[in-house]
Symmetry: C4
Subunit: 260 residues, 4 copies
């Protein structure tokens, strides 16, 4: 096994393709959206990427079989009314090493280039440390000329946000794509950062659908968001019941622990 192994499962020709990245990250927002699109569009897996930079483990499936941690690229051919073929980058984990983020981002961009990708969307969550009242999607671009277009899809640009920059693959893809002359935007669903957030994922999906011109059923994400809200309501109750207990370690609403 090499530092990175790219396994091409199927040779496809794509017209005018857009790459969409949705790997695990803050609130799993990007992963929820990208996995959802793969499923709804019945996209076809064409590439698997293995790497020594991923965590050294296998995942165990429901039937007891295992598989190596990997990232995958799915292809979707434009259907009637759609303008772009899609390359969807999804997976189990981002790099487990600092340098590996650079190595893997470069690998994905080489693949993008090879398929003639001219635009990339990376998806993520922007954790604000408290429960989100009004959902919104923050945007960053690697080419200022994309900004107005992104706004027209409902994404917002806010000064000083995200203040700490964009960490990991979603950020590096934008930065490194610029060098290759590929335009790229990162769509970040505002989220608490403490919980997997299907509600925030819905917001990101709305903006992205507009941007890439697809229509996907939101229902599964809605269902999951409702379920998550029930869990949160229950947690709130538990907390309120506990507020009288001296020495309790759980804080207020803004302080929920990370739940997947």
């Amino acid at each position: 096994m090499d530092e990175v192994n790219v396994v091409t499962l199927k040779d496809v020709k794509l017209k005018n393709p857009i790459m969409v990245e949705g790997l695990p990250g803050v609130g799993h927002v990007g992963k929820l959206v990208a996995d959802h699109i793969v499923e709804e569009l019945k996209a076809e897996k064409i590439i698997e990427v293995y790497s020594q930079h991923f965590p050294p483990q296998v995942l165990v499936m429901d039937d007891g079989t295992v598989r190596l941690v990997k990232n995958e690229i799915y292809a979707h051919k434009a259907m009637k009314g759609e303008k772009h073929d899609l390359l969807l980058l999804v997976g189990d984990y981002q790099s487990a090493t600092s340098m590996g983020h650079y190595v893997l981002a470069s690998t994905f961009l080489d693949i993008a280039e090879q398929y003639g990708v001219k635009r990339i969307y990376t998806l993520g969550g922007y954790g604000i440390g408290q429960l989100v009242e009004a959902p919104s999607v923050i945007c960053a671009v690697n080419d200022i000329r994309m900004a107005d277009e992104m706004r027209s899809y409902g994404a917002e640009f806010k000064e000083n946000e995200p203040g700490g920059g964009i960490v990991g693959i979603s950020g590096l893809l934008l930065g490194l794509a610029e060098v290759k002359g590929i335009e790229a935007a990162c769509l970040m669903g505002v989220t608490s950062g403490y919980l997997v957030d299907p509600k925030s994922a819905q917001e990101v999906l709305k903006v992205l659908s507009d941007a890439i011109g697809i229509e996907v059923d939101m229902k599964p994400l809605e269902d999951r968001a409702i379920e998550m809200e029930k869990i949160m309501a229950r947690l709130k109750e538990m907390e309120e019941a506990q507020t009288d207990v001296p020495g309790s370690f759980m804080g207020g609403d803004d302080d929920l622990r990370y739940i997947r």
Copy 2:
């Protein structure tokens, strides 16, 4: 010294060999089983593996001599009634670096391939965070066709277990063996995760003996399990005596500290 040094001590020809890996891990279950088999079968050491990925230290033996941290492969020729020669992979430590797990797993698979290994068993513990009432062995495979056979040996498949995947060499060997067309199963003794667990090791050994068709004396593991139970009984007493002490940091039964 290179990144990995494979030192072949003896040239052996093996017929129909199965590889069994039992390196240190949760509850030292895998290591207990594999070391026990090496001893009981008087297997012969044929390979030593040294690596810069192991912890940078030497171990000191009882007589004051030292040796480098290493992994070892022992060979056992099938005796009357046995169908398979065995390659037993044992050692002091797993990799100390994240990438080293991949590097070493690849090394061991190259060795397996070289000896014509068609099946690998990796052994480990599955820590559940509380004392285990009824011992059992959880299984994962890299080929679904192995599942029924494994069940026939007494191994169980449980949905969502182990939920976090299989970390380290026992997992990676399964994942990477698949690529090489070698079938592999991981046998995980359910264990608290806080203690070295010879009782869980006995359970794994039962399943494995069936699977590879060997008979080994369980007595030494039984003795060690009895000894461990005495230690645990004493710990329980100590804890009960302490429960009245305010500010005590020891928890209940489920919270024993790790003891080797």
Copy 3:
């Protein structure tokens, strides 16, 4: 992307150039000074350095565009009355890996050599763990013959300071420059180490201006120092108000938390 990518933006010929390094560090003293000089002298960017050793992230600008973490080298041609052209090394971060510090320092020295640099100044802060009463600038050199000259610019040499050595790029540039026969001095503004310290930066700038024979407006740094003093005064008040609160986690004056 390679381990280090040096992108030359513009070919310039420099006469008698001095290199000045001011990357982020203790109190951001070095960065404040070097960024200030770049701005005041309207120096021209000639080189960008990207590296897998930098943190794997992009920074988001005010307009929503991103850029990769990088270090930059600006050139300033000597104006009337100045004796030296300048190469100013500034940037977002130092290396995120231990070995990367060595790799990047070597890269910068190769660049320095290429431009015929004979002297380097590295700038930093020397954190003393308490608020600084009388500002001063500590110096270290890689050639004892520079010591008296440095003293003449107002820098001080104190035995056993800094006791822990100089960590990171500011130190390594001195150590590695010696091997190449380039003389180098590190100017360290004494600072608390808890706050970004524009006041300490002013002191360093005074010494450096003398040393390299430039004149730059101090006003912007002064303004920022005044602003910072207001913040500190407010913090003091808050602390004094809190001293009666039992269980308060904030300490006295010497214990301010890090504020940027």
Copy 4:
């Protein structure tokens, strides 16, 4: 700068040389002894070793000059009555990375081989976590045939000690020397592990002097030991004064904090 840079300062021919390693470690015992020998024998520096595996920093000398972190090898030619020339390996730090320990140990062994070294002594401290009543020196060897000889010099072999093996360069040199057919012993002064321990260093020096057949003045180490005992007496007093204070974080005699 490469991963490791070996700079030979002087070409010497050595007869029957023994290598002695004393780099920083537990209680700085090894470093105290080796530095002391270098000084007392007025050994001559012949090699400097620089590496990206050392901490990325420079040390600042009393006169304000800096130098890179390094390891050094000094040579001592046997004087009248001495049987062996010596190669003394000393320095500022051990490797800062796990793999670097292996890389540097290999480097030092290559040097040893090159000079025809047939025996190596590595020096260290064995931390027992409490103040040491009767000083002693524990030994480990890479060849059992050395054991009796070591005992004759006053070193002791104790079963299960050191239990955790020997971490870092002092251990790896023994383990890796074995492969090259160089015999090696590690002399470990028993020490609390909390303090720099010149008293333990004296004990190690006694054993080593016997082993390598040199005579060195113990006075400087004795003076330092007396000084250290005064510091410890003062600490004891402070602790006794504090034992009545509720919430005090300092423990009893066995719990002194690390002081250099």
